[in-house]
Symmetry: D2
Subunit: 110 residues, 4 copies
């Protein structure tokens, strides 16, 4: 990676971790478990979380100061995804990763 | 497209138009013109605008209610991109498309 | 959009149509219907098709000659998605859109 | 990440590394250096490489067997990007990362 501040590099990696966790958990764990794991509202939120995490990392990599807008959106969606995964249950990895990503993005959004 | 509200379908198409305009203008018009058109802050913002427009459309297509967060980020970045394209000059298409997208996303963000 | 050949502009729009159809059908029709519509192999292929269609359009918009590689991948995955949607049934829109996209991308891949 | 074969997990991470390197090098090193670094053919190829690397990782994360098509496209574009970065010069990180990604994707494409 090019010269980016260490805190931003860490947030990029946290976002990409959360992207990988949400996407692979949705399409492996959730699709295979079925039931409440493929309930539309839950599954769509998992995919939305993967998407905004990927984009939040992307906009930080670009090096524009406007990453604050995407980090704010990412923090908000990760927080909702964590809450929803707690409600569904048996989604501990997602809960933990989404919380960490929300926290990291909140710090980069200011 | 699946059953989405007409206003949301229109916003999805506006976002994808803005994505196409920003990306192709950056990599054709701006790269070929050079000078202030490849000034890092301007070029990065064009790419960031393309990315969040694509993601704003994506989250609306997913059908989660949390598109409000990504529409808000999209409206903010499109507005900045329009202002910056006006400053750079000779970017009328981008200015117009970014303004239209900012306006449409603001309505979907509430 | 910047100056792109008309045939390429048409292929970009066909890819984005297929992206919208696959993504919204997966997360609305398929998630709501359940049963064979959320069978992992089918659902993952729908999401993979949406992703490569989006990327195929992106690489054409960038204006690099290497869009042939992504158009070839897109044609292959769209063709498989069309076949699989026929097998699952009640997915006529997807079948038709994926076939059209496969055909258009095959022409751009040479 | 969900249960994926170790070799596939390694390829996903190699693709995401290459994505990060190409995107941040293009928008930091290349945009700031200018000259042959913002020559349209070079710059567009850097962005195309970033995009297909991201998508190659995405399709492997989804868990569909059709990742072979996207890995093949990724190997081809990474190889071209490595060659082109060698020609431009002063792009050693990109050359190395693109070569590693091409090699890893070729193995996953069979």
């Amino acid at each position: 990676m090019a010269r980016l501040a260490p805190e931003m590099q860490a947030c990029i990696d946290t976002c990409l971790d959360c992207y990988k966790t949400c996407l692979s958990t949705a399409t492996h764990h959730c699709l295979e478990a079925g039931g409440k794991h493929t309930e539309p509202a839950h599954f769509r939120l998992m995919l939305a979380c993967a998407e905004i995490c990927r984009t939040s990392a992307h906009v930080m990599l670009l090096g524009t100061e406007h990453h604050t807008a995407t980090c704010r959106a990412c923090a908000e969606i990760c927080e909702r995804c964590a809450q929803n995964c707690e409600r569904v249950g048996d989604m501990e990895d997602c809960v933990r990763t989404c919380r960490a990503c929300a926290e990291s993005c909140r710090r980069m959004a200011v």
